[in-house]
Each structure stands twice: as structure tokens, then as C-alpha cells.
């Protein structure tokens, strides 16, 4: 049992007698031998594990691993087995649970992360999957694989060569986009034993302490192997039985009761839940899931801001200013915001003010013809309005699309939390995606009626303002169209011409056809389609033999772009079977360009 203050002491780390599992299994063994010992030890007036101890442990853990899942204190449970107290706390994201154990009259707190991955119901279904655990004191990773309740393999790492990591050893997980636990496994699997640290703006790093696992690893062994003494292999299968009917060989389940120390009457008040934060939003964002997600992402952003300032990683010139002073400063210096880190701006503005800023920027970017990028949009923010929003907490956003704005704000906060600030373009794109991706049905109609007069106007602005950022397919999908798989065929000169897909645009009765072989396939198909639909169907009319390929291609592309802005629906008759049947699947200059403009 290692106290937190001494947990890097090698001598203690390797003391078998101090191993939590050893003691735990010893207790379980006693339960086997002395079947009468099934009754839990009476709880003492002062419990061995104090809530404050756990909260302090989590504070340190959160500093080491920003972004790691938070504990759900309200769901904490405890049990006593002989002289050992165990507190079990699930983690918020459902990643697993944290176990805390301490002997009565003991002083060393042992901590273990554990999760099950697989199928089970604890009643009738044998467990198939695996158990994973990390001893949070010495970071030994342990995995046990079960098939239908039977242990079929085991993996265990041992930590013997521990040294402080050098800067050059830090492994950047820049391409890693997983969970905290996944990052932990990633570090382990790369023989680099470290604490995954979420770096500001760069995703996960493995940092801290390095252990060369090397030959110390034991690979997955056949059933029964890899035990090596008392450990999770002995204990956790008893608590989390892989087989619901263990033939009477296992003692009773420990009796878990609520660990009330976090609650009223305990040592201190229960930590707030996410939805307790920013109460000014409660009456405004009606959908609970959207609201909590917004609050969670915003709270994470605030945490990132504080962490950055606490660690001295950023010089915040405005750290000493109150939010009101900060916004007052921007009121009188409209361009100053361009030079301030967005995380600072959004945190200083508060949960409501941040949404107000982002929504103002969104509409400036879309509706103001003089605004062609997100930096310019930032200069259009009305800071007086933001100040009012901060003061009242009331969002100046129509109720009709407040959910879309909340989703979009969440997306921006999440982007900042994940990748840090890279550019306002990136943040703006996240906002548009979040907003347009979640504005559906009548909300879309309200948005159009309020701001754009008609859907064509909105579509045109989305396409012209965000060319090269969002695909035609994406914008059409936002507006009720998008890629559709179809099977429309005609016969021309004895040959079948088939369109197997179309990109449904946002305009009615505007249709065009693309594909290979204009004369023999595209034009005949367009003529037939025009007869069927009763509307004109366009094909590119601009080919000119007196022009070069490059000029023709440019003209063709300009024509396609002009149709996109108008919201045309495109049928695609694809490659010419005459060529594909001969092994030629080349798309050619023109068709390739058309596909890039419309379908890719």
C-alpha cells in the first residue's frame, strides 16, 4: 500500500506484501476457508477511506491526465471485506471504474482502474470479452480474456525499469484520436510506459515516467497462465464473475452499499454535476442532452484555460481583468479581438456570451457581403450585445434555432479542447457544421424565413461563402437534398445508359446530367430525362474545338459552379461501358473535374 506521497518509491512499489491484491486475495482465501466469515466487518465511525482523500486523488489525476473521464461521485459504492475497505467509483464516460482500497487502521490508499469489455448480464449469460485493469500506483496493466465464462488468455505487464522520461523520449500521439483509456493502452502497447497527457493543442502525449517493458511483457497465454500470484486474476473475477453460476466455489458477492460521504452529511458537499453548472442556460436550451453537452464542452474549455494559465503555458494579458472589464475593453477596441486567443475570449465571455459571439460571427459570415473570412466576422461582433448577454444570461438567439446554436457552440468548444486554437477558419467551420448539421425540419424553415427569405438564397450563400470548405453534397444534405442512389436507365442506339446516383440540389426543377461520352450517352440521357420530368435538363453546351483543353476545362468548370450556386440536381451516367468493358476506367479531365465539383 503506497501513500500517494510515496508512490514513486521503487522499494515500496515492489513490495509484494504491500500489494493490494495480495491482501485482497488473502482475504478472499480466508472466505473460502472460513465460510462463516461472510459478514462484512462493521463500519467504523471513522471510515478508513475519507472522501476528501479520493477527491484529492482525482484532482491530481485530472492534472496528470486532462481530458480523462471524470468520476461520478454520486454513484460511488463501498464494501468492507474483513479489514479492507473498498470504494468503487464509476467514471463519467462509461470507460470503467476506479477502485480505492485501504486497510482499517491503515494509511496507504491503493487505486486501481478497471473495466470490462464484452457481453454479460450477471444473471444467466456467461461472460465473453475481457477484463482490463491498470494499477494506478505502479501502472501494471493486466488483461484477462474470457470466452463463455472461461478464462482463455491473460496478459500482464510488469514495471521494473522506471526512469524519468527525457524530453526526447516524449512520444507524440498526434494522429491518435481516442479516449483517455485508449491513449493509456496506446502508450503501453508501444513499450513506452507513460502517463498519457493531453497537451494543449496537440492531442495526447505520452509523458512522465517511462518504463521499458521489453521482455518483461507476457503475451496472451493460454487459459490459466500468467497469474503469477495474487492479482486481478484472483480478485476481480470474484467481484465481476464471468460465470453467473460458479458451482458454489466462490464466496458471496461483496455487499456494496452507497458511499454517502460525498453526499449531504458527509465530510463535504457533493461535487456538482455538469448540469448544475451555468444555470442561466437551463431555461433556454430545452433539450437536456444538448444542454449538458454544451455545458460539458464549455466547462472543459474553462478547465483548459485555467490549466494553461496555472502551468504558465500561456501569458494571458487579461488574466487580471474581470469578464466585464474585458468585454468593455473590446467594446472600445473592435479590432483588438483579432489579437486575443479565442479561448480567452470565449471563457471571459461566459457560457451565454460565448454562444452569442459565435452566433453573431456565423450570421456576419453568411449574410454580410463584406465579410469573406472568419477574422472579418470577428470584427463585426457587437460587444455591447455580448456584454448584455453576459449580464442577463439571456441568449439573443431565436428560440427556433437555439438548439442548433448550442450544438454548434459545443462543436467549437470541443474543437478547441481537442486541438487548441489553430485558426478562426477552423473554428468557424466547426460552428457551421454543428449549426447546419443539426438544424432540420421546421427550424430550417424558420431560419430561412428569418434571415434568408428563401432556401435558394441560403444555399447560394453557403456555396459561395464556403467554397472549398464544405462539399456540394454536404450543403445539399443540410438543405434537404444530398446524394441519392438511383437506378434510372434509358436505351439509346441499342445501348443502355444508366444513372446510378444523383446529387439532389436545393432548387426545384433545375436538373443537369454529367458523365462520360457527351454525344452518345450524356446528351441522349438528358433528352430522355427532360421528357420524363417535363423540365429542361442541361448538359454542358460549351465545348469549343477552337479552344485548348485547358480553356475548355475551365469553361466547363465555371459552368458547373454556376449550376451549383443555383442548387441544381445532377444525374451521373458514369463511365462509358464501351471503355470500361475494355479495361479503361479513366475518368478523363472533364468528367473527373465534374465529379470533384459535385460528388466528392
Amino acid at each position: 500500500m503506497l501513500p500517494l506521497s510515496q508512490r514513486n518509491t521503487t522499494q515500496q512499489r515492489h513490495s509484494l506484501s504491500s500489494n493490494f491484491y495480495f491482501r485482497f486475495s488473502f482475504v478472499i482465501a480466508l472466505l473460502f476457508v472460513f465460510s462463516a466469515c461472510t459478514k462484512s466487518v462493521q463500519e467504523k465511525a471513522v471510515e478508513p477511506i475519507q472522501a476528501e482523500e479520493i477527491v484529492n486523488w482525482f484532482k491530481e489525476y485530472k492534472q496528470k491526465m486532462p481530458g480523462a473521464p471524470n468520476p461520478v461521485y454520486s454513484a460511488a459504492t463501498k464494501t468492507f471485506i474483513n479489514d479492507l475497505m473498498i470504494v468503487r467509483i464509476p467514471l463519467l464516460s462509461g470507460e470503467g471504474e476506479m477502485f480505492f482500497a485501504k486497510k482499517i487502521n491503515g494509511k496507504d490508499l491503493e487505486v486501481l482502474f478497471f473495466r470490462r469489455v464484452g457481453t454479460y448480464d450477471n444473471v444467466s449469460k456467461n461472460f465473453t470479452g475481457y477484463y482490463e485493469s491498470i494499477n494506478m500506483t505502479n501502472y501494471v496493466y493486466h488483461k484477462i480474456v474470457y470466452v463463455n465464462g472461461i478464462k482463455v488468455g491473460e496478459f500482464k505487464s510488469q514495471s521494473t525499469k522506471i526512469k524519468k522520461i527525457e524530453n526526447s523520449d516524449v512520444k507524440t500521439l498526434s494522429d491518435y484520436e481516442g479516449t483517455w483509456f485508449g491513449a493509456f493502452l496506446y502508450c503501453l502497447s508501444h513499450h513506452l510506459f507513460t502517463v498519457p497527457k493531453k497537451t494543449i493543442g496537440a492531442g495526447w502525449d505520452c509523458g512522465g515516467i517511462r518504463i521499458d517493458l521489453g521482455s518483461q511483457n507476457q503475451d496472451i497465454q493460454p487459459g490459466g497462465g500468467g497469474g503469477g500470484g495474487a492479482d486481478i486474476g484472483d480478485i476481480l473475477p470474484i467481484i465481476f464473475r464471468p460465470h453467473p453460476n460458479p458451482d458454489g466455489l466462490l464466496p458471496s458477492h461483496p455487499n456494496w452499499t452507497s458511499y454517502s460521504s460525498f453526499g449531504p452529511g458527509g465530510g463535504f458537499a457533493k461535487p456538482p454535476s455538469i448540469d448544475d453548472l451555468y444555470p442561466e442556460l437551463n431555461g433556454q436550451i430545452s433539450d437536456e442532452n444538448v444542454r449538458i453537452e454544451y455545458k460539458r464542452n464549455y466547462a472543459a474549455l474553462v478547465e483548459l484555460y485555467n490549466l494553461r494559465n496555472d502551468n504558465g503555458l500561456m501569458v494571458d494579458l487579461y488574466a487580471g481583468m474581470s469578464s466585464k472589464e474585458f468585454i468593455d475593453l473590446l467594446k472600445n477596441n473592435q479590432l483588438l479581438a483579432l489579437n486575443i486567443d479565442p479561448i480567452t475570449i470565449l471563457v471571459k465571455a461566459g457560457a451565454s456570451g460565448a454562444a452569442d459571439i459565435l452566433v453573431q460571427m456565423f450570421f456576419a459570415r453568411l449574410l454580410d457581403d463584406n465579410v469573406s473570412d472568419w477574422n472579418e466576422a470577428l470584427t463585426k461582433v457587437n460587444w455591447w450585445q455580448v456584454g448584455l448577454t453576459m449580464a442577463t444570461g439571456a441568449l439573443p438567439i431565436s428560440n427556433k434555432y437555439i438548439l442548433a446554436a448550442a450544438n454548434a457552440g459545443s462543436a467549437v468548444f470541443a474543437e478547441l479542447g481537442k486541438n487548441g486554437f489553430t485558426s478562426w477558419e477552423k473554428l468557424g467551420s466547426s460552428f457551421v457544421e454543428g449549426f447546419m448539421g443539426s438544424i432540420i425540419g421546421s427550424s430550417l424553415g424558420d431560419l430561412i424565413a428569418d434571415k434568408f427569405a428563401n432556401i435558394g438564397n441560403l444555399g447560394r450563400r453557403l456555396i459561395t461563402k464556403f467554397e472549398g470548405i464544405f462539399s456540394y453534397e454536404t450543403i445539399c444534405r443540410w438543405l434537404g437534398g444530398g446524394l441519392k442512389i438511383i437506378n434510372k436507365s434509358i436505351t439509346h442506339n441499342g445501348q443502355a445508359i444508366t444513372a446510378s446516383r444523383m446529387m439532389k440540389g436545393f432548387a426545384d426543377n433545375k436538373v443537369a446530367v454529367i458523365g462520360r461520352n457527351m454525344k452518345e450517352r450524356v446528351m441522349p440521357f438528358a433528352n430522355s430525362l427532360s421528357n420524363d420530368l417535363g423540365v429542361p435538363v442541361l448538359t454542358w453546351p460549351g465545348f469549343n474545338a477552337a479552344l485548348s483543353d485547358a480553356q475548355n476545362l475551365a469553361n466547363n468548370q465555371a459552368w458547373i459552379k454556376s449550376l451549383k450556386v443555383q442548387g441544381y440536381t445532377f444525374y451521373d451516367v458514369g463511365l462509358d461501358p464501351y471503355f470500361t468493358s475494355r479495361g479503361n476506367f479513366d475518368e478523363g479531365l472533364f468528367y473527373s473535374m465534374e465529379l470533384n465539383e459535385i460528388f466528392r
Partner: protein, 115 residues
């Protein structure tokens, strides 16, 4: 000239290709008894076709790939016929008429062993 095929009006390319191909492919009629069928100039390609019994021989310059190739087509099935030997490797994105002539020469030599 940086890139003849990109910078030149397409009708001029048709004429250039026909000018090059006509003398180089004359042996197809004189030595192998093929008959001239037609020349098709389109946005996608220029095709000079010859015919013999139920076989069509096409000499194809494709604008969009800027390459040259030949093919045999069974008139009854409209499917391509395989060559007896390995044809010249397809070289795409030719940039000058000189490069095109080299490709045409390779194919004309190849056709003499195939027809």
C-alpha cells in the same frame, strides 16, 4: 513549346494527329488489306477506324489522357479483341507532338506483327 496538347486549340490537335497518322498508318491498307472506315473527332478523342471482315481496327488519340493507343473490336459482339503479344505500355500525359510521334511509331511497329 511547354505543352502542345494543353495549350493548343483542339481542332488543331485533330489536324496534327491526322497529319502524323495518315502516312504512318498507310501500310494498314496497302499491306494488310484493311479498308478505311471513318474518322471521328470529338471532345473526348480522335479515332481513325479501319475495317476488315468482322474486325474494326481503331487508332485512338484521347485528349483527356493525352495518350495514343490502338484497339481491335469484334463488330458482332462490340467487344475488344486481345492482342497476341504484349502491346506497348500506355504512356499518358504526352506534352509534345514529338512525344506523340514516338508513341505512334511504337504502335505502328507493333501492329505489323499483329495484323
Amino acid at each position: 513549346m511547354q505543352n502542345y496538347f494543353i495549350d493548343t486549340p483542339i481542332y488543331k490537335i485533330w489536324i496534327s494527329v491526322i497529319d502524323i497518322l495518315t502516312p504512318k498508318s498507310a501500310y494498314i491498307i496497302s499491306e494488310f488489306n484493311y479498308q478505311f472506315k471513318d474518322i471521328v473527332c470529338s471532345r473526348e478523342c480522335l479515332v481513325i477506324a479501319y475495317i476488315k471482315k468482322n474486325i474494326t481496327l481503331e487508332l485512338v488519340y484521347a485528349h483527356e489522357y493525352r495518350n495514343f493507343s490502338c484497339r481491335l473490336i469484334d463488330i458482332e459482339t462490340n467487344l475488344g479483341k486481345a492482342w497476341r503479344n504484349t502491346p506497348p505500355a500506355m504512356k499518358k500525359n504526352l506534352e509534345t507532338l514529338s512525344e506523340l510521334e514516338i508513341e505512334i511509331d511504337k504502335w505502328m511497329s507493333f501492329l505489323k506483327t499483329e495484323l
